[in-house]
Each structure stands twice: as C-alpha cells, then as structure tokens.
C-alpha cells in the first residue's frame, strides 16, 4: 500500500473498476450487519427508481466489522456477474467495501468516502448512516435531487422526531450553530446528508484529517465548513428516524462528535456574521411533519442526580472553565432541590459559551472540557423534559426557538470572553 494513502491498494483497484460515476453514496459501518442490508437495499432502490440513468456506486467504508456487514453490502451489487439481480436496471451498480485500518472512528470513514468521490469524479455524493433503518427509497431522491437539479452543494436532513428525541441537537448544537453562523440548519450533525462533488473536493483539500477531533465528528465540520465556505445549502424533510438509545457513556461520545467539533471549528473559522444580524432560514424541501408525541420513558430523577453529583465532583475542573458568577449560579440552582430546579436558557447559553471559550483557550485538555460538559447538559435536559412534559409539538418548537434567540442575544458575550476580556 502506498504510504500515507487513505486508500488501500485493494480499494483503489475496486475504484478503478467502478470508474467515473455521477453518484457516490457512502455508508460508514462498524458491525452493522443487523441493519445495513435493509439500508443498502433502500439506497439501491432509490437509485434505480430516481436516478436510473446515472452512473452510481455505493461505497461501504467499514471500521473493521467482525460480522458480515461488508459481505451484505457487496451482495447488493447489480451486475452481469449475478444475472437476474435486477434485470430492469439499465446499468451496473457496484456496491464495494473497504476496511480502514487506521481508526475505528467515523472520520476516517468519511475521509475515505470523500477521497473516493473525488477520485471517481462523482458530482453528487451522499452519506447514509447504517442506523437509518427507516430509510425509504424516496430519501435518496430528496437528498440527491437538490444537488443534481438545483446545483446545491449540501443537503442536510430534517427528521420527524419524537418531541424528546434529538435533545443535544435541540438544546445546543442547532441553536449555537444557528447563532454563530447565522444559518438555520436543523441538523448540524447529520446522520444522512448529500453534497456536491465540488464540496467533496473542498473537504478533501482541508488540512484537518489528522486532527483527532475530526475523527469523531467530521459530519459537523462538513456542515460548518460548507456554511463558512459560502456553499449553497438546503434541507430536505426525510421522515422518521428511529431513536437511537444512548447509554451514559455514549453521551460523552455524542458531545465529542458534535459539540467538540463545533467548539474546535470555532477556533478555525470564527464566524464573521455580525453579532446582531438576523439568522438566515435555509430552504427546506419535501413535506414537513409534526413531531411524534408518543410518550418516552426517561428517568428524570436520575438525570437530576447525575447533574448534581457531576457538578459537585467536577467543581474544581469547572472552576477553571466557567466564570465565577456562572459557576455560582449553577451551584445555587442545584441547591434548590429537584422539585424547584431550573436550568434557565440564559444560564445554559452562558455556560455553553464559556465552555467554548475555555476550549479555544485550552485552559485544560479539550477532551476533559467536553467530558466536563456532560453533567451540565444532563441538568439542561432535565429542565427541558420537565418544561415540555405536557407541551404540544408547537410549544416544544417555540421553546427551542426561544433558546435559539437567547443564543443569538448572548453572542456578544461569547465575543467578549473569546477575545479574553472576561
């Protein structure tokens, strides 16, 4: 294998056989045999139904699965080697798979996907998560069509979610991205998205791929750099996406993947949109859908306890991250007891901004900063759940909107502490 190449010789040989394509869809996996077959079949159906004339390839980049993930993907190929697999297809559809040995993290997978897209000169690219088991062929059309038809550079999804699903996105990632970059992208850490060949080449040329933080959350960086690079964005309503249950250990990982990248990206591309400017709505295509209101079982008491214990245990660490006044307010709020506890939007936004600034100034290890955020986020989640326990979908949306406005209103505060005056 050529030294320093992200592409193995075997994978390169497969890409040579694929040749130039119009559409490349990447599926990063790791032990996803239970779901990847269904996902790849839907992708295949979407390509055959909506893009029958385009030259397409499905590229699976696997982190070293020990199950049959890769075999399942390869078996979805349509070719004359397996006659009858889909006689109605005009073209061969290669479904190829490669293993990246450097890391089991997603960043290497996405790096491989954009490198492959660049090499085979795909003009329309997509990434689909193997967790997206509710995917329908129409998702492919909704994600890819804006790129192929409207010359859009990036298409991010809007899912129909449960009102208590996607809380990290609603309480932090979306409002903060929106406030800082002045673009209302509902899923700044998308699981399924599409982008143009131009943008793939742009991503590939970024000198970021060796960064540990990118290994965890390249998707978020893609969205941010598409915004800061002035590329055309749009959003597509996709439908329901199944809720993925996260254990407490996953929370830190989720924070790394989204918030960590968001903070890190601030250091690279501090937003230039004026602090008092209105945020821009990003066009969304497709049919919107109300959030589902099915009850979700959440142990709020445990959330609160984890917040209180975390705050207490991490007080010395938080002392180096947060301002004295913010930490004092947090301690004071925690002391009110579960029944009266409320993590206000104002206090939450100041907390987040101070974490971002601390991350930028590297007051302690950036990863420790992200880890320290976990208990505070649990506190905010507790408040969100309590406040919205009986809310309608519209009320939940209004509350998210109010939080966004708080992030926007306090943006000057971030500028102040970022520049070191606080």
């Amino acid at each position: 294998m050529a030294e320093e190449s992200i592409l193995t010789d075997d994978f390169l040989r497969e890409l040579m056989n694929v040749g130039e394509v119009d559409i490349l869809i990447g599926v990063p996996t790791l032990n996803d045999a239970a779901t990847v077959g269904q996902v790849v079949q839907s992708i295949r159906s979407g390509l055959l139904k909506y893009f029958p004339r385009q030259r397409s390839v499905i590229v699976n980049v696997d982190g070293g699965s020990r199950d049959s993930t890769q075999d399942i993907v390869r078996a979805a190929s349509i070719s004359d080697l397996a006659p009858g697999t889909n006689p109605s297809a005009l073209r061969t559809l290669h479904c190829i798979s490669t293993t990246h040995e450097r890391s089991t993290e997603n960043g290497t997978g996405l790096h491989t996907i954009v490198a492959a897209a660049d090499l085979v000169r795909a003009t329309i690219c997509g990434v689909i998560s193997p967790d997206s088991v509710s995917i329908e062929p129409e998702w492919i059309e909704r994600l890819l069509r804006p790129v192929s038809r409207d010359n859009v550079d990036m298409v991010t999804p809007i899912y129909r979610r449960n009102k208590f699903d996607g809380l990290l996105v609603r309480n932090l990632v979306y409002p903060m991205t929106r406030a800082l970059y002045c673009k209302q992208v509902r899923e700044p850490h998308p699981a399924d998205f599409a982008f143009s060949g131009r943008l793939a080449s742009f991503f590939l040329e970024q000198d970021i791929w060796s960064q540990a933080v990118i290994q965890n959350g390249a998707e978020t960086y893609f969205v941010i750099s598409a915004i800061t690079g002035g590329f055309r964005l749009t959003q597509s309503f996709l439908g329901s996406r199944p809720r993925v249950d996260h254990s407490s250990g996953d929370l830190v990982q989720a924070l790394r993947q989204s918030v960590g990248v968001l903070f890190w990206a601030l250091g690279k591309n501090f937003p230039t949109c004026p602090a008092n400017s209105a945020t821009e709505t990003i066009t969304a295509t497709g049919a919107d859908a109300e959030p589902s209101m099915e009850p979700v079982r959440v142990n709020r008491k445990r959330l609160y306890q984890m917040f209180v214990h975390g705050l207490e245990e991490l007080n010395p660490v938080l002392n180096s991250i947060l301002s004295a006044s913010t930490l004092a307010e947090l301690n004071q709020a925690a002391a009110t007891g579960e029944d009266r506890f409320q993590y206000s939007d104002d206090l939450w936004v100041r907390t987040v901004y101070e974490f971002a600034s601390a991350y930028h100034k590297e007051v302690i290890s950036p990863d420790h900063i992200i880890q320290a955020m976990a208990p505070l986020y649990r506190g905010k989640t507790y408040t969100f759940l309590v406040e919205n326990r009986d809310s309608s979908a519209g009320d939940v949306e209004n509350n998210v909107e109010n939080l966004c406005l708080t992030f926007e209103r306090l943006k000057p505060y971030l500028l102040e502490i970022w520049n070191g005056r606080k």
Binding site: R13, N17, G19, R53, R55, P83, L90, T92
Partner: protein, 546 residues
C-alpha cells in the same frame, strides 16, 4: 471461383445487404439495376463479403419499397429483366459470393392479381387466399405494427364489401396460410428462384402467417407448421439452401423458429442490436451480456444473424419502456429521427461519425457469435437524410466517388430515385468509395482488413463463446473457441482509457497474439492478465499454446 459445397456455408458468411436500386445505375435512368449491381461485384469481392442479401426486386407499386409484391416470378422493370438477374447471379457465384433474396410470405401488394381476383367476388376461387371478414372485430387486441400510419389491422374493401386483414400497411393484404393452395403456390414461387440458383431466402415477417382468435396472432404453432413444411421441401429438393427468419421477437420466442434444426437455418437476433448501442452509450456491458445470457441455445446447424443497421428503423420493439426512452433520448433527440417504434438513422450518424465507435461496433458485430450483416454504405460511413419520408432516409444512393451524382448515376440529379446525400459531413464529396480506396487508414480500408481477419479463422462463425466478466464493467470480454482454435475479444465500451484485469487462468501458458498486427503479448500466468485500453479500443487475440 467455385462456391464451396459446405452445407453450413451460412455460418462462415459475411452478408452484405443491398437494395438493387440503391447501388449502381448503369443505364442512366436514375435507378440502380442488376446490370449496375453486377458491375460492382468486384468491389464487393474486394471488400471481403461472401454473400449478398437483396431486398425485394419484384414488380411492385413500390408503396413499401418493394415489400408490396405484385408478381413473385419476375423482376421490376426498373431493375432489369430476369435475364439480367441471372447474369448477376452467375457473376456473383463466379466470385464466390452467394445470393440471398427476399421472400415476402406474409402479404402481397393489393395490386397483386391474386388479390384483385380475391376481391372481385366472394365466390372467386382465390377468395380464400386472403383473410376476409364481415366485421373488423375479429382477432381483437392484436397489436398494430405500423403505429404511425395504421389505426387497425382490418381494412374495408369497397369492391367485395368485406374487411381484409393486414398486419402491415393497408395496401398489403395478408395471405391466408390456412389455404393449402396458398402454401403450395408460395413453395412454387420459392422453387422458381431456387431453380435459377439463388442460395437462400430471407423470409420476411414470418411470425404473422397464421391468425387465430383469442391469440396475439404471432408465433402460433400453425405458423411454425407452415414454415416446417417449407423447410422440409427445401431440404428434400434443394439441399444446401438456406432460410433466414425475420422475426422481431424476444429470444425465447425466437427459439422455436429454429425448431429441431428443421425450420430456419438462421434468424436475426433483434434484441441484441439495440442493446449493443445501449451498452456503448451507457459505457456498460450489462445490456449486451444480459441479453446474450437470456438467449437460448440453438441447434448446432443453426446460427444467429447479427446486424448493426439495416433498411428499416433501428427497432426498439424488443426493449423495455425505460430502455426505449433512454435510446430515444440518446440516439434520437430530434423527433424527426423517430419512426414507428424505432430510430431511422444509419450507423455513422448514430455514432456521431466517431471512427473509434464505428470500429468498435463493427468489431463487436464481427466477433460476437453469429453471421454478420453489413448494410450497404455503412462500410464507408454513409449518412442518412431524415427529411425523406418513412425509412427512405437510410436508402439513399451509394456514394461511389466525388463526381456527378456521387458516381451512382449519369442521370440528371432530379431524376434519381432518391436525392443523394449532399451535406458537408456525409455528402458524396466527403464520403465515397473512391476517396477511401486511396488511403490505407480510411474506414473502407479498415473494414477490408477486419473482414480479412474475421475470415481467417472459422472460430468467429462457428465457435462457442464464454464471457469473462472482468470487474471493470466497461470492458466486454469473451473467449470464442472451436476445437483447438481460441480467440479472446476484449472491448472497451468507454470513452475513456480503461484498465482491465482478465481471469485467464484456464489458458495458463498460452501466448496472446494480437490478430491485426500479429504482435506477441505476454504469456498468460496464474495472475490476472492486465490490459490497458484506449477509449473505445478493442483487441482480438489469438490464444496459442507454443
């Protein structure tokens, strides 16, 4: 030169399709004739073809370019006389060129005396030679073939006040093959020409001979029975003669036309042709390999006939709706290029006059299993004229040189049977035999070379075929094998250079000899055989164990 006596001669044949009126006008009346065609036999011999397929030359009102026959036992006066035909036939045979003529079994012209008698009264002895009905509702649901011109398969005859059945134009009434007299008469017609020395017949529109209520009236067992009866007589009385079926059908429906080697010797492979064009445009071998995978095996003495273009539109009846839409969009963007269910264009314009693609498609035609047919003028890259009606745009005069009427005729241009091509790309001054003969690298010279190579090894006509399926789907590769003879054909369907790895382990130790330059390529080993190929390039290798 004596004709070889091999009864399977058609398997090695390279057939040249020509309409006598289009080829050469020797008497200056603006219409080609048999004397003119005979004068050009040296050209055809030099080109390397071994058989000529003549389109209908019988007396006819010419409302369907001769497929509306008014007398089966004579020659249209514009093309000469029966004696002229005999002279031409003998001259062809002397050059080792066989002659296949058209026989339109299904229908006659409405001007044919048989039909005139048949319609004259309901009591006429020839009344049942055609298919009559008091209503136009019989055989309901049978598809209409010429959808652009016909609304029904029935036409009203004001003379005998009944409807008559016609699968093609309304001026072409279908003969009634339920009548023993019709079957006997048509065999007599065939004997007439066989006795003169013709080598075979291309039987036109054979799926439609017999009609039955509640069926599609196509491919019926009764039709096969008629054809088998003709074949048995042919074998008994004229062994070594050949029957070629025109049946535009799916491979599975075509297979019965071979019977147990007791019906047709050859049949056109209609579904393959559009898929060759599709594969080229898609840069993907899938359409070609799939249709050949679906093609049933045929009895040993039988053979498929392959073609790229012919006198008709590029038929798209044997493709799916999605494939048809794709073909129209890619090959006939201008709607005037579309006719019925097909595309009325010649080979060179279809391929954007791209020499590399023209060579590749001819390379496929000549290396896939079957007997190839070259349509007149395609060997020099003639163009078409979509402004002429019907399919006349692909039937313009042969372009012999850059002089008066392209060397086709000394008549005034206005009196030519068809306008000659004049445009700067395909006109006779740009594309003609004379200028291409002068250069070794002209298309004509290249065609002569490839036909020579094709004829050098019987494996092309008679060998088995096995696809290799390299992972690169832009490359179509197959091995043809006959006894100890083996050739490998590798075709890059793509507009860009390609790398391909071929699994040739079965031929380990063989040396590859490139068949045009006779150059030696590396010996086959255990490892994949690596080839790099230019855009639209193809290789023919002979595999030799030395």
């Amino acid at each position: 030169m004596a004709l070889p006596q091999d009864p399977l001669w058609y398997k090695d044949a390279i057939i040249y399709q020509v309409h006598v009126r289009t080829f050469y006008d020797s008497n200056g009346d603006g219409i080609g004739e048999f004397r003119g065609l005979a004068q050009k036999l040296d050209y055809l011999q030099e080109l390397g073809i071994t058989a000529i397929w003549l389109m209908p030359f019988f007396p006819s009102p010419l409302r369907d370019d001769g497929y509306d026959i008014a007398d089966y036992r004579s020659v249209h006066s514009s093309y000469g006389t029966l004696d002229d035909f005999k002279l031409f036939l003998d001259a062809a045979h002397q050059r080792g060129i066989r002659v296949i003529i058209e026989m339109v079994l299904n229908h006659t012209s409405d001007q044919h005396p048989w039909f005139q008698e048949s319609r004259s009264s309901r009591d006429n002895p020839r009344r049942d030679w055609y298919v009559w009905s008091e209503t136009d509702t019989k055989y309901h649901g049978v598809r209409i073939i010429f959808t652009d011109t016909e609304l029904s398969n029935w036409a009203w005859d004001p003379v005998s006040k009944e409807y008559y059945w016609h699968r093609f134009f309304s001026h072409q009434p279908d003969l009634n093959y339920d009548s023993p007299a019709v079957r006997e008469e048509m065999w007599d017609v065939m004997k007439f020409w066989l006795n003169m020395g013709v080598d075979g017949f291309r039987l036109d529109a054979v799926p439609y001979l017999v009609e039955r209520e509640g069926t599609s009236c196509e491919n019926l067992p009764e039709t096969h029975a008629v054809l088998k009866e003709l074949r048995a007589k042919l074998d008994r009385e004229f062994p070594g003669s050949m029957l070629l079926a025109e049946a535009n059908q799916w491979p599975a429906d075509l297979r019965p036309y071979f019977g147990n080697a007791d019906e047709f010797h050859m049949a056109f492979h209609f579904p393959l042709m559009p898929r060759m064009f599709m594969g080229l445009k898609l840069e993907d071998r899938k359409p070609i390999t799939e249709v050949l995978q679906q093609t049933p095996s045929i009895p040993d003495p039988c053979q498929w006939c392959l073609f790229l273009r012919n006198h008709d539109e590029l038929t798209l009846e044997m493709v799916t709706d999605m494939e048809r839409d794709y073909m129209y969009d890619e090959y006939a963007k201008d709607k005037s290029m579309r006719l019925n269910v097909g595309i009325r264009r010649r080979l060179a314009p279809l391929l954007d006059n791209d020499r590399r693609r023209i060579e590749l498609m001819n390379g496929l035609l000549l290396s896939l299993p079957g007997t190839p047919i070259i349509y007149y003028g395609d060997e020099i890259g003639m163009g078409d004229n979509v402004n002429l009606g019907d399919r006349n745009g692909v039937r313009t005069p042969m372009q012999w040189d850059g002089g008066w009427n392209g060397g086709f005729s000394s008549a005034d241009p206005e009196s030519l049977y068809s306008p000659i091509m004049l445009n700067p790309v395909y006109g006779y001054q740009a594309v003609n035999v004379h200028s291409q003969k002068r250069f070794d690298h002209s298309l004509l010279s290249w065609m002569k070379r490839i036909l020579r190579v094709r004829k050098s090894m019987p494996v092309f006509g008679r060998g088995s075929m096995e696809f290799l399926y390299p992972a690169n789907h832009r490359v179509l590769a197959y091995v043809r094998e006959l006894g100890k003879e083996r050739i490998l054909a590798v075709n890059n369907l793509s507009s860009s250079a390609q790398v391909v790895e071929l699994d040739l382990q079965r031929y380990k130790g063989d040396i590859l000899i490139e068949m045009f330059g006779k150059n030696i390529f590396p010996r086959v080993t255990d490892r994949p055989y690596l080839l790099t190929m230019g855009p639209y390039q193809f290789f023919w290798f002979r595999l030799r164990k030395i």
